[in-house]
Amino acid sequence: MVNIEGLHKKFGKNHVLSGLDLTINEGGIFAVLGPNGSGKTTLIKSILGMVIPDKGDISVLGKNIKKKSEYRHQIDYLPQIANFPSNLKVRELIKMIKDLRQNTDTDLHLIKLFKLEPFLDKKLGTLSGGTKQKVNIVLTFMFDSPLIILDEPTTGLDPISLIRLKDLIQAEKAKGKTILITSHIMSFVEEVSDEIVFLLEGKIYFRGTISELKTKTNQPDFEHAIASILTDNHA
Amino acid sequence: MKTFVQHNLFYIIFFIGFIGFSQTIEVCGDCTITSLKEAIRIAKDFDTIVVKKGTYKAHDIVIDKPLTIVGENYPVIDGELKGEIITIISDNVTVDGLFIINVGTSYTEDYAAIRVRKSKNFVIQNLVLEKLFFGIYIEKSSHGKVFHNKVIGDAVEEYNSGNGIQLWYSHHVEIEHNYIEHVRDGIYLEFSDDCLIKNNVSALNIRYGLHFMFSNDDTYQDNTFENNGAGVAVMFSKKIRMYNNTFKENWGTASYGMLLKEINDSEIIGNTFEENTIGINIEGSNRIIYKHNNFKNNGWAIKVRGACYTNQFVENNFLYNSFDIAYNSKVNDNVFDKNYWSNYTGYDLDKDGIGDVPYRPVKLFSYIVNRTPETIILLRSMFIDIIDFSEKVSPVFTPDNLMDHHPQTKKVTW
């Protein structure tokens, strides 16, 4: 699904990614973890073409993405901070994104699911963070693309919406899609992901299932396992 | 007194008698008389010669007796570029309705299409002059009229072209309703006093539309001077009255609507200066009254070059000029009062139609442009506005007493 070879990226003097290789197979939920500044977002943005790599190749669905935009038809992306043009109404934003990509009816179902009907004619600027995130989720899941990338999807969600989101992710997985997630909420990651990648200083420190990680670090639970990687490396 | 009347009466009767017996002589291609020269030779005093339509090749035609020469349907007198065409040396001559072309050009003699020499009571009217050197040349003559002529030259250079209408040592001449273009000076007066120049149009001339030298007590009014090298030059003269003329589009490096040099005790009233590089350029001129003039869209409305004292600029309109007044010295002895300045930015709180803050028409930038002409390209720049403002607050380079204390808030009407 996604194939990354020798990815390098510097921001100024800061080496964010240094020679990262990663292959993500088709199907399943894949979590990218790592401390702040480990290059998670940079990695995701590189796949999306928002960050231009200094070196290395990325291919999505077997095609090199360099200087291309069409491949993004195959990706649904949920950005980290959902801050939309504040003068647009929710309805208009949805319509606009549809206009830019393709038409779909899935949004009606999603709007109902997240109970967004009362907000449809409100301007985005007046919405709360959680509601914005719901809109964000609607925008992401309303298209039927084989690759879904979620950057901190749980931000600001109330418990009920969180459950709905998890259901949604599982449903997409069931359709055989590939889902890429970053999150700080370890319990969420533990619950949904099939495989994790742990990034440290721009390199892959660990890749495998959560149980493999627990075995490797000799820790009984996931959160401690992560913590032990961090303390070991910073000591 | 009685003898004076009798004396005159005698002349009048004598004169009427002549008209009564005067003959009309016709000149045409198949008449008995085929040339103007011959007609003049056989004519008696106060006869009328009628020249019929046709082309007559002739030059050096001398009119030496009081005659009336009238052209019918504009007969052409062709000088074949051989020299002067008509010379009048007698009093009481009228020349009317001829089409005179091809005056000879010379660098030693001023050949004219028609010359009046030492004569009185002449009338020159309805002539059309083309391909000329000098047009109408009036020399040491007086009490004549130059009326409704059309002078179309083809002058290119100053040194080998002549003037449209020239007066030299003449007085009491009226020049009215003439149209003059493409000559050196449209109308030129030298040592000529008490003349009236009225309702003429002088355009597209190489040097000046109208030019005065050493001529006093003259009046010119209701004329239009357009697109000339410079509109009007008034030099070394006094007591000139300049009323209701229009000076337009005199563009160029040394181009003025009006150039005043060594002029004293004159009046400039009711004129319009529009789109000239310099509206009026003044040098060494004193005691002149400028009143009720419109200065509109000129580069410089008035440029004062120095040595100008006790002039008065009152109740004029200064509208949208790039510069209103330029001064090249710090000394000012002239009065600016009750003018309307479109560049005035003050206020009138008591609503009496007079701005509460005096207006300073001289800008620092005009001083800079005077020094480094290329800086003109920065005109209307914000930086220039800033330095102009600071100069306005505390004058350093411009005369600090040069102010209009009663700037009008509405256009002056009269």
Binding site: F11, F84 | T277, G299, Y320, T372, E374
Partner: protein, 260 residues
């Protein structure tokens, strides 16, 4: 690109700021007409205001819009859209909405005052054309600054500096240079100096209309050819077009390289 343009444009047309600018220009037009009572004079005053104010507003608004719509931009970047169309679309959206605020804001009071029956209509049209050019140029410059500076404060700082430099400081240096080298023939230098600053360039266009009588008073042959014929007008417009094209090209270029 047209879709982005459409959305940016509608977004801006609905924003408070567009109305603020529209209202500002409207007020400016009305006040000038009211104070001057004279169309020609109002047009002249307006010209002085426009060549300074339009760049300022274009710069500030361009920078502000860019920073404010950063998240929106990121949303768009994740969509299957070309980068250059995203930025050109946004740029044109801003520039056009500003231009429309300018044209309508100034146009309405003047039209009501009887512009169409007045001889000032050509001057006024030139004014609007120049204003639009300046908006296009300075919004593009603002986008360039904002794209090169992630730091908002820095971006605003540079934008203001740019405006200050081109509107005032440049002319100051220019004047000093001309005075310092006044013994040399300077007409070419002064024309080139004008071409290199879009504000000066627009001013020249206005001078051509308002002050042609004064400009022709200068002797230089190059000057004469420039101002005395339509040559100057054509060159000025070509240069203005280049001034629009260069920063826009850099937006395209930069947008392909930039990380988000």
């Amino acid at each position: 690109m047209l879709k982005i343009l459409k959305y940016s444009f509608f977004d801006l047309m609905r924003s408070r700021w567009s109305y603020v600018y529209f209202a500002f220009y409207l007020l400016l037009g009305v006040v000038l007409l009211f104070l001057n009572n004279d169309l020609s004079k109002a047009v002249i005053t307006l010209m002085n205001v426009i060549i300074v104010l339009v760049p300022l507003i274009g710069t500030i608004f361009g920078v502000m819009y860019y920073y404010n719509s950063k998240e929106f931009t990121e949303l768009l970047l994740a969509q299957p859209l070309k980068r250059s169309s995203i930025f050109l679309g946004q740029y044109l959206g801003v520039a056009l909405s500003l231009s429309i605020s300018l044209i309508l804001g100034l146009g309405i009071p003047f039209v009501f005052y009887g512009l169409f029956e007045s001889s000032a209509i050509w001057d006024f049209s030139l004014l609007l054309v120049t204003g639009t050019f300046l908006t296009l140029i300075f919004t593009a410059l603002a986008f360039n600054i904002a794209m090169s500076n992630e730091n908002k404060i820095k971006g605003f700082g540079y934008a203001i500096l740019l405006w200050l430099f081109l509107a005032i400081i440049y002319d100051g240096l220019f004047l000093m240079t001309l005075i310092m080298f006044e013994d040399y023939p300077l007409d070419k230098v002064s024309l080139i100096g004008t071409m290199l600053n879009p504000i000066d360039l627009s001013r020249t266009l206005i001078l051509l209309k308002l002050d042609i009588s004064a400009l022709l008073g200068y002797t230089g042959a190059v000057f004469k050819q420039f101002f005395g014929t339509s040559f100057g007008l054509i060159i000025s417009f070509v240069m203005l077009a280049i001034w629009v094209a260069l920063p826009v090209l850099r937006i395209v270029f930069k947008s392909k390289k930039k990380d988000f």
